[in-house]
């Protein structure tokens, strides 16, 4: 009988091994382990054995049964895995087809530059302020030391709406507003970006353009010297244009500052050797700046004997053009969707 059991085990294992699918496996199970299965038959036939042999044969049968059950289970799992594998394979898709398009918007390059400048100056403790674009002559000119008839008003031919109201020609108008609004006459550190308007329209001038303006007012003996202005603008320009650029301060004239300086940056294209972008000079004019004129302080409620300040301003379009390599200012205002949608990602970190 033991031989019979051994034979069954051998045969069954061989059959399990050779089975090719779940259905045949089940047939093998029935054949050996079913109610009428071969192994079950052995148990049934145990009645013919001597009593002392029965437990030996019984345990042997159970041992083989367990062995076969495990083998079948193992095989079943294998089949299940294979079946799953086949199913997954059948589900394979063309991963090169396009993903569902989520429409992506874009931020205008000029506003990108504004945000970058605002973030920089806020990190240095400046307040971001704003002012009206429809300004009065008083704030746009008179309170900035530009009385009526002043020749410097020629530099900025203006869009007047009435004798009193005009579209602001410069964000400097916000300087006067900020100083007047600060009734406590405490120190000021402000930055203001916005639209400005002048009566000119050609390839390099747009009648509407963006400016950013900074103003610092503090006790005269501290923090508001030309050296402080230079240091501040070095940080600003290097952040906006690049670490390697050089700055050149050139004395100039603005009615609201004295002394006044224009700031040139070494040409980002040729590095200062001279090219058509810098008109062969190696320098590109980028900022106007200076020490706040005592008349401006006085007219806006600060005592020039006690307080001093510096101010600076720059055009935003040019910064955007430098930053993104935009060759023509008019692209910024044409709003061609193919242009706009290029500015649809995060700026690189500098």
């Amino acid at each position: 009988m033991q031989e019979q059991i051994a034979k069954i085990k051998e045969n069954a294992l061989e059959e399990i091994k050779n089975v090719q699918d779940a259905k045949s496996l089940n047939e093998v199970r029935v054949k050996y382990l079913g109610k009428k299965g071969e192994l079950t038959q052995v148990l049934r036939g145990m009645g013919t054995l001597a009593p002392e042999e029965r437990p030996i044969i019984g345990s042997k049968v159970n041992e083989v049964r367990e062995l076969l059950e495990n083998a079948i289970k193992e095989k079943e799992e294998k089949f299940a895995q294979e079946a799953l594998q086949r199913k997954l394979e059948s589900e394979t898709i063309d991963i090169t087809l396009p993903g569902t398009k989520i429409k992506r918007g874009s931020k205008h390059p000029v506003n990108r530059v504004i945000e970058e400048i605002e973030d920089l100056f806020v990190s240095m403790g400046y307040d971001v302020v704003s002012g009206p674009e429809l300004e009065t002559d008083e704030f746009c000119f008179e309170r900035l030391n530009l009385p009526k008839g002043h020749p410097a008003r020629d530099m900025q031919d203006s869009f007047y709406i009435t004798n009193e109201y005009l579209l602001r020609t410069q964000t400097s108008a916000v300087q006067a507003r900020t100083m007047l609004a600060n009734t406590e006459k405490t120190p000021i550190r402000m930055i203001c970006a916005g639209k400005t308007y002048r009566r000119e329209d050609d390839a390099t001038h747009s009648h509407q353009f963006g400016q950013v303006e900074g103003l610092v007012i503090d006790k005269k003996e501290r923090n508001v010297s030309l050296a402080d202005l230079k240091g501040t603008l070095e940080v600003f320009v290097k952040k906006l244009i690049g670490k390697n650029c050089e700055l050149r301060f050139r004395p100039s004239y603005f009615p609201f500052t004295e002394p006044s300086y224009e700031v040139d940056v070494s040409c980002f294209k040729c590095g200062g050797k001279g090219c058509n972008i810098c008109k062969q000079t190696g320098w590109i004019e980028i900022l106007g700046s200076g020490i706040v004129h005592p008349n401006v302080l006085k007219m806006n409620g600060y005592d020039p004997e006690e307080y001093g300040g510096f101010a600076f301003g720059t055009g935003l379009e040019r910064l955007a053009m430098f930053k993104y390599g935009i060759p023509d200012m008019r692209y910024l205002y044409a709003n061609d969707i193919r242009f706009l949608s290029q500015f649809d990602r995060k700026d690189e970190e500098i």
Partner: protein, 789 residues
């Protein structure tokens, strides 16, 4: 201002190693920018030649074949100029010569060898307006005294270098060679030479016969001198060339001298033909409508704002702008009246803006130094005596209300260093003043600086500090960062958040012009306001400030549509302007325009419709914290909007914006717009964002659909459901709207998904069923609806 360096060298010596570029750069560093710097005649490889043989070209009806002696050799040159002939001295550009417009190369012209080019003055870069009639005909003909083989530019005395400065408005003093000499002298620490004013005066004093009368406060200084028996002829070469280098066309010696003195000293002069003027000069304001014929032959109609120079009866010149035709110096003029005056700069500016901007008016506008006026009157006499053989009449007629004393300004050395952030020693500061030609008295830690009247731009100590920074050198001042008490910078990021939200919703941000055509200003709005029109627009298409931003965005749509761009979703945050009553104002607005496909890709394509733009509006309002406070309401819409597919946005009862489809009369495309007045919106304050407890008990969702009249409005049904559902009904969402099969004509089905929950317990089926029954009953009754089964 074009600076001739030859002219400059009359008054200041320049070191030999300083070339024109270096000078221009050094001037730039002290604040005087330039547009260009280079040779007056920018040509290389030129030599004086003599045509020794000139034959007609065998294969041409106009070319000549010339043999030209250039000293070392005789060249064969083909030339097309009609005046080419044997015996004349010419300018030869040799092989390899670079001229302003071309490079010369040896070559063969119709079979004849040509080893260079004979040049006209124009080919050498001389502007057309400076060409004499004979120069326009052909190649330049040099005088007999020209030496073959030598440099023709030297021979012509045109070996000059010119810097074209772009000066700042405050430096009127630099509109003169003398002023430039002081500036250059300060840079290189060189003394400025004296101006030669020497001349003889003779005869009876001018004051005996001639009178001047100033009847307006707009003239502070008037000097009149007389020079008799002038000989009108061509100017000496150096005068002509310096005028040309400075951009002024030579006329004759007398007219040229008035311009020469203006260039030299910065004081515009006017010369009258004394015999036509008579013995009186009056300065007065013009009468309204007064007529005057100016030098250019144009009759001008004047206003009370113009200053006029008159004789005893009528106007003879427009002060500071242009002389009159009647008293002009002409070829037969014998005697000259010199007028040197200072007129009000603002008045001159206004008049010249109206009539003509000239070298003279530019100088009057910037302001003049009265001491220089005296100098200029004398200098003109000196030159007229020397170059026109004039006899200067004794004396000067003087009307003078000016202050000619030097300004004294006190300045503390510490103050200089405080403003500049430097530690410049006192001596170094004083050295700057010395270089500038300012005198000073030191008084302990202070100095009193005497500023010559020529520096009209300097009046306060800050101006002196600027001079120190200029001449000491801004480059020598080290930048530092301010050391300040730490404080937090602040900004209102709301607009930026809105921008980022719109971008996240897939819209492209634009930057549009605020100026539009006045015909468009009242479009897309029914608001009442006065339009704001520019007094002096550049074009009619941009003559008015926009109120709504939609016209701006619509233009962008049209621009892109014309370029075959069909899918446009754009937005912008900007200003709209108005006058309401007496108030001028501006509001910040958010505007969007959407058309074409919005979502794209496989199985995901969706064209923009009303609900897309409404969704964008809702997103923005919810994002800004206005959830449950807004509604979209019907009303009367501007004629540019589709009357059935537009809605006003109402937040707590206030109208803050509009969405909708553009009317087919505006565009055939399906274009949707959104505009929200952000300033009005922000008047509705938003509460703090606060945590709400999440129910620990399960929520239950139930769907229900009603069949209602096609015109029924979902918002009303929602309200009814909400009222019936009470506090346990926590959310209502429309998930389907259906018309068609199984739905009766004139009806529609709207399906809602309702969410129920209770913070305190799990809701039982019975409770839910009761609530649902109540909702269904109420809606069916109140909304005349029928439950869809």
């Amino acid at each position: 201002m074009k600076l001739s360096t030859n002219f400059l060298k009359d008054y200041v010596d320049l070191d030999a190693n300083i070339d024109v570029k270096q000078l221009a750069e050094d001037m730039t560093r002290v604040g005087n920018e330039y547009d260009s710097a280079g040779k007056l005649i920018n040509a290389t490889n030129l030599v004086i030649g003599e045509i020794v043989e000139c034959k007609d070209h065998p294969d041409s009806d106009h070319l000549h074949v010339c043999k030209v002696n250039i000293g070392k050799e005789i060249l064969n040159i083909v030339c097309g100029a009609p005046n080419a002939r044997k015996g004349i001295k010419v300018i030869v550009a040799l092989d390899g010569a670079v001229l302003p417009e071309k490079t010369i190369k040896r070559g063969v012209i119709r079979g004849q060898e040509s080893n260079g080019m004979m040049c006209s003055m124009e080919e050498l870069g001389l502007e057309h307006k400076f060409l004499k009639p004979e120069d326009r005909e052909g190649i330049a003909e040099l005088g007999e005294d020209a030496v073959v083989g030598e440099d023709p530019i030297k021979y012509l005395q045109m070996d000059d270098e010119v810097i074209d400065f772009d000066l700042t408005a405050n430096r009127g003093d630099l509109l003169s060679i003398l002023g430039m000499a002081y500036e250059v002298g300060a840079i290189y620490d060189k003394p400025v030479k004296e101006v030669d004013l020497s001349h003889k005066e003779q005869g009876e004093d001018i004051n005996k016969k001639f009178t001047a009368e100033v009847k307006t406060e707009n003239c502070n200084l008037l000097l009149v001198k007389k020079v008799e028996n002038v000989e009108i002829k061509e100017s000496p070469v150096f005068i002509k060339n310096r005028l040309i280098a400075s951009g002024i066309r030579p006329i004759n010696n007398v007219v040229d001298i008035s311009n020469y003195v203006m260039l030299e000293l910065g004081q515009p002069l006017h010369f009258y033909d004394a015999d036509r003027l008579g013995n009186k000069l009056v300065v007065r304001m013009a009468k309204e409508g007064e007529k005057l014929t100016t030098l250019d032959g144009n009759e001008r109609t004047l206003s009370q704002e113009d200053i006029v120079i008159a004789d005893s009866t009528h106007g003879v010149g427009l002060a500071g702008v242009m002389g009159g035709l009647e008293t002009e110096v002409e070829n037969d003029t014998k005697n000259i009246i010199i007028e040197a005056a200072i007129f009000d700069s603002v008045k001159i500016r206004k008049t010249s803006n109206k009539i003509l901007r000239s070298e003279a008016s530019n100088r009057f506008e910037k302001g003049l130094d009265p001491n220089r006026t005296y100098m200029a009157a004398e200098r003109a006499c000196t030159l007229l005596e020397k170059y026109a053989n004039g006899k200067v009449v004794t004396g000067t007629v003087v009307y003078d209300k000016t202050d000619k004393t030097d300004k004294e300004i006190d300045i503390a050395f510490q103050n200089v260093n405080d403003v500049l952030g430097t530690i410049i020693p006192n001596e170094e500061i004083l050295n700057v003043f010395r270089k500038l030609g300012f005198t000073y008295k030191v008084n302990g830690q202070k100095a009193t600086v005497k500023v010559p009247t020529r520096r009209m731009d300097i009046s306060i100590k800050e101006d002196l500090i600027e001079e120190v920074s200029r001449i000491y050198g801004v480059d020598n001042i080290q930048g530092k960062l301010p050391v300040v008490p730490m404080r937090q910078g602040s900004y209102d990021k709301t607009l930026r958040e809105i921008r980022n939200k719109m971008i996240a919703l897939g819209l492209n941000e634009t930057l549009s012009y605020i100026l539009i055509n006045d015909k468009e200003v009242h479009q897309y709005t029914l608001d009442e306001f006065e339009k704001l029109k520019l007094l002096d627009p550049i074009t009619e298409d941009r003559n008015t400030l926009r109120y709504s931003m939609i016209p701006s965005l619509f233009k962008i749509f049209e621009y892109n549509e014309a370029r075959e761009q069909k899918d446009i979703s754009i937005f912008e945050i900007g200003k709209g302007f108005y006058k309401k009553g007496e108030v001028y104002g501006e509001d910040t607005k958010l505007c969007a325009l959407m058309t074409g496909k919005y979502s794209l890709g496989l199985n995901n394509t969706k064209n923009v419709d009303f609900y897309t733009v409404k969704g964008v509006a809702e997103e923005i309002l919810e994002y800004l914290g206005y959830a449950n406070r807004y509604s979209f309401i019907k009303g009367e819409f501007p004629k540019e909007m589709h009357p059935g597919q537009s809605a006003y946005i109402s937040v707590n009862g206030a109208n803050v914006g509009m969405i909708g489809k553009l009317h087919p009369n505006v565009t055939k495309e399906n274009v949707y717009v959104l505009e929200i007045n952000l300033d009005q919106l922000f008047q509705k304050k938003v509460g703090k964002m606060k945590y709400k407890e999440i129910s620990k008990f399960p929520t239950v969702k139930k769907d229900v659909a009603f069949i209602v009249d096609k015109k029924a409005i979902s918002k009303d049904i929602e309200k009814t459901i909400k009222n019936a559902g009470g506090s346990l009904l926590t959310d209502i969402e429309v998930f389907d709207v259906y018309t068609g099969t199984n739905i009766e004509e004139g009806k529609k089905s709207i399906a809602y998904s309702l969410t129920f929950s209770d913070n305190k317990k799990t809701l039982t089926d019975e409770e839910i069923n009761n609530l649902m029954n109540k909702i269904i009953d109420t809606v069916c009754k109140k909304m005349n609806a029928e439950l869809r089964k």
